[in-house]
């Protein structure tokens, strides 16, 4: 059985469409719902799925031509299509909600006996979702592209209430209007054409359209599928010089690209300066060793060093608010809250969840917040707002054994504290060499607003707070 392919109506006020591209050639097999051709109207480009499975027998409207809706643009011969399996429609039907059709149909007269039943029509629509509701997939008359189809000799004129109203208001005899809709239905477009005195289904002149040449991207030999040239991810050497010997190429994940973008942006926006200090945390190590089991037993949370550092950082931020700020052009935004971002390493990247209002939390509250955020970061259950609105950040390269690290500022912060590994070192105490638990503290800060004097005083405050810890942790 041959099936006509029609130009669908893509909107109420759209009465014609331009075929921009046939995705199949005559003689080629096509599955039902497989994209068959592309049309464009105004600023919209749409792929139109095939109404049936079979072989594209004929293209009646070539690329670049503009024709009225409902025009037959091609014919599919379904003869050899018995084998064609159509796995897609089942899913399609499910997700195409019927309520739109229902609403549109409510305006229309009950379907005449010869027309598909409502259920069939809904199904047909689902199978051919891109066509207008009136466009039944089974045309009743073979029609040419250049001539509007003649209405079969029906007694009553099929039309919608809107069309009848328009006809009445404009004194138009509907029986005299050639209907181009399904089953000879007089569509809104027909009545509008009649009102203009023009013949429905006029053939629009073929646009002087030249298919745009597919310009090859100016690319060096290896295809840059994932590693697409990127303004920020610029390459330091010509790309040709990266591909040599044995190699494999993998596209960056989006998260990786985001991290890369953020780092490049941060380094570009903020002139980074680094200060390094060290703190004697022998007492904290002792305290933690003493209280570890009790803490875990009574609170159910593991006791880590991070809350000590957050507490110390909050003290520092309160004393030096500039470190807890953001830069907006020539303004400095001083944040009243201390929202501390904690860098969490993931197998697939890095994320910085934020402990909000750290200044209001006690030690246990901080420990719980950190554990919760880190756990959910690793199980991908963070909410967007939980990685936003940080005012300062802490990263802990020491956890991987790093003596110290010089981190990149997480924007829009102006500073980030890096924690080295805590290890026993010989240090001079009261002119004697002692074995103490030491940690390197590094601060990367934005020199636009934070000067070395402030940075070192800030670090001094943290150091002092850590070395003279007095707060109870339970």
């Amino acid at each position: 059985m041959a099936t006509d392919v029609i130009m669908p109506q893509m909107g109420e006020s759209i009465f014609e469409g331009t075929i921009t591209k046939w995705l199949k050639k005559p003689g080629e097999k096509v599955e039902r719902d497989e994209p068959l051709f592309e049309i464009s109207t105004d600023k919209v480009d749409a792929e139109i799925p095939s109404p049936a499975a079979g072989v594209l027998k004929e293209i009646k409207v070539s690329e670049g031509q503009t024709v009225p809706i409902q025009t037959v643009v091609g014919v599919i011969d379904g003869a050899g299509s018995a084998v064609a399996s159509a796995p897609a429609p089942a899913r399609q039907e499910k997700q195409e909600p019927a309520r739109v059709e229902a609403r549109e149909r409510a305006d229309e007269k009950p379907a005449p006996a010869s027309a598909p039943t409502r259920a069939e029509a809904a199904k047909a629509d689902a199978q051919q979702p891109a066509s207008a509701p009136q466009a039944a997939p089974r045309p009743l008359a073979a029609t040419g592209a250049s001539a509007p189809p003649q209405r079969p000799g029906t007694e009553k004129v099929r039309s919608s209430p809107l069309v009848r109203r328009l006809a009445k208001e404009n004194n138009i005899d509907l029986t005299q209007v050639p209907g181009t809709g399904a089953g000879g239905r007089v569509s809104k477009k027909d009545i509008l054409s009649a009102m203009e005195g023009g013949a429905a289904g006029r053939q629009a002149p073929a646009a002087s359209y030249a298919s745009p040449a597919q310009r090859p991207a100016a690319a060096p030999p290896p295809p840059p599928s994932g590693a697409q040239a990127h303004a920020l991810l610029e390459t330091a050497v010509p790309r040709e010089r990266m591909y040599f010997g044995n190699y494999s190429v993998e596209p960056m994940s989006v998260m990786r690209q985001k991290i890369a973008d953020h780092m490049v942006m941060s380094k570009r926006v903020s002139p980074h300066v680094y200060s390094i200090d060290e703190a004697d945390v022998t007492n904290l190590v002792k305290l933690r060793n003493q209280k570890k089991e009790e803490f875990e037993r009574t609170t159910g949370s593991k006791l880590t060093f991070m809350p000590f550092f957050i507490r110390a950082a909050v003290e520092g931020l309160r004393a030096f608010p500039t470190v807890n700020s953001s830069v907006d052009g020539t303004n400095i935004v001083f944040h009243r809250e201390c929202n501390i971002g904690i860098a969490v390493a993931l197998d697939w990247g890095l994320i910085v969840p934020v402990v909000k209002n750290a200044e209001e939390k006690n030690f246990l509250g901080l420990q719980r917040a950190i554990n919760d955020l880190a756990e959910r970061a690793r199980s991908k259950r963070l909410k967007p707002e939980e990685v936003q609105e940080g005012t300062f950040s802490i990263t802990n390269p020491g956890v991987f054994g790093g003596l110290m690290g010089l981190p990149v500022i997480s924007q829009p912060n102006v500073a980030i504290l890096g924690l080295g590994t805590i290890e026993k070192r010989p240090v001079v105490v009261d002119d004697a060499i002692a074995i103490r638990s030491m940690v390197y503290l590094t601060l990367s800060y934005d020199h636009r607003v934070v000067d070395g004097a402030i940075a070192h005083q800030f670090m001094g405050k943290i150091k002092h707070f850590l070395e003279n810890w007095t707060e109870s942790i339970l």
Binding site: S13, K43, D45, E47, K94, A218
Partner: protein, 257 residues
């Protein structure tokens, strides 16, 4: 995130920030597939592209005024793409919005949809005290400057629109100039319309305007005009969600288009 309720009009909002054209295009392709399969609700993807010139399906190459050599020198990428519309430029300072909506569930009318996108941007612009409007036959958001002394009346384009539709699922979308470097538009005939210049919110207001001032306004009006309930989600999370569904469907993730 699993606890987020998804209703019929839920629209996830992902602000991807700075993202090159190709990855954004690829992400859209995956979102469209997921939207068709019903594994994600409507999604509005926001981003900002590095310098790139894109040519729509109906575009004409002669509207590209710069040579390939110059583009490379200026670090401007070039892509042919499958959206509607002619040639356009994207770059830093421009908010690019890619709504992946199932129009079948909203309204099956592409002309209506394009008008709504215009409406969203017209309303957002109005919040800055600037009256933007439409030009018949020229999709986009336009600013009319009345004749002033020797200066004749002009019409400048603030935002461009180009849409692709597949089974009523939309992709591509709009590009709104916040603080775009307008000189880059000299490389092309914007949207193929001769003699019309582009403008930006910053140029119109005569002050620095940040993307962050504009995005929430666009989102609010997008929600109101298109009847969506906006839900911000993280890009990484969206990625993982798509990935999981793609694995489940055994669809190759990086299949060539």
């Amino acid at each position: 995130m699993e606890s987020l309720p998804i209703t019929d009009n839920t629209c996830w909002v992902v602000d991807a920030g700075f993202m090159a054209y190709r990855p954004a295009f690829e992400l859209q392709r995956r979102l469209v597939a997921a939207r068709k399969a019903g594994t994600v609700p409507d999604v509005l993807l926001l981003c900002e592209h590095p310098h790139v010139i894109t040519l729509g399906r109906n575009g004409r190459l002669e509207h590209l005024l710069a040579s390939e050599h110059l583009l490379r020198q200026m670090n401007v990428e070039f892509h042919s793409t499958d959206r509607g519309g002619d040639i356009t430029y994207h770059g830093p300072g421009q908010i690019v919005g890619y709504p992946i909506l199932n129009l079948a569930a909203i309204r099956r009318d592409v002309a209506w949809y394009v008008r709504q996108l215009e409406q969203v941007m017209i309303r957002a612009t109005a919040e800055f005290g600037i009256e933007a409007g439409r030009k018949a036959g020229m999709t986009g958001v336009w600013i009319e400057a009345s004749a002033d002394g020797d200066q004749p009346a002009t019409v400048e384009k603030l935002a461009a629109i180009g849409v692709h539709l597949s089974r009523w699922v939309t992709s591509h979308g709009f590009a709104y100039n916040v603080s775009t470097d307008l000189r880059y538009f000299d490389l092309i005939v914007p949207c193929g319309i001769q003699g019309k210049r582009a403008t930006s919110l910053e140029a119109l207001l005569g002050r620095a305007v940040h993307r962050e001032e504009v995005v929430p306004r666009l989102l609010r009006h997008f929600a109101a005009v298109l009847g969506r309930e906006m839900r911000p989600v993280l890009l990484g999370w969206l990625e993982e969600t798509l990935h999981e569904h793609e694995q489940a469907r055994e669809v190759p993730v990086h299949a060539a288009p």
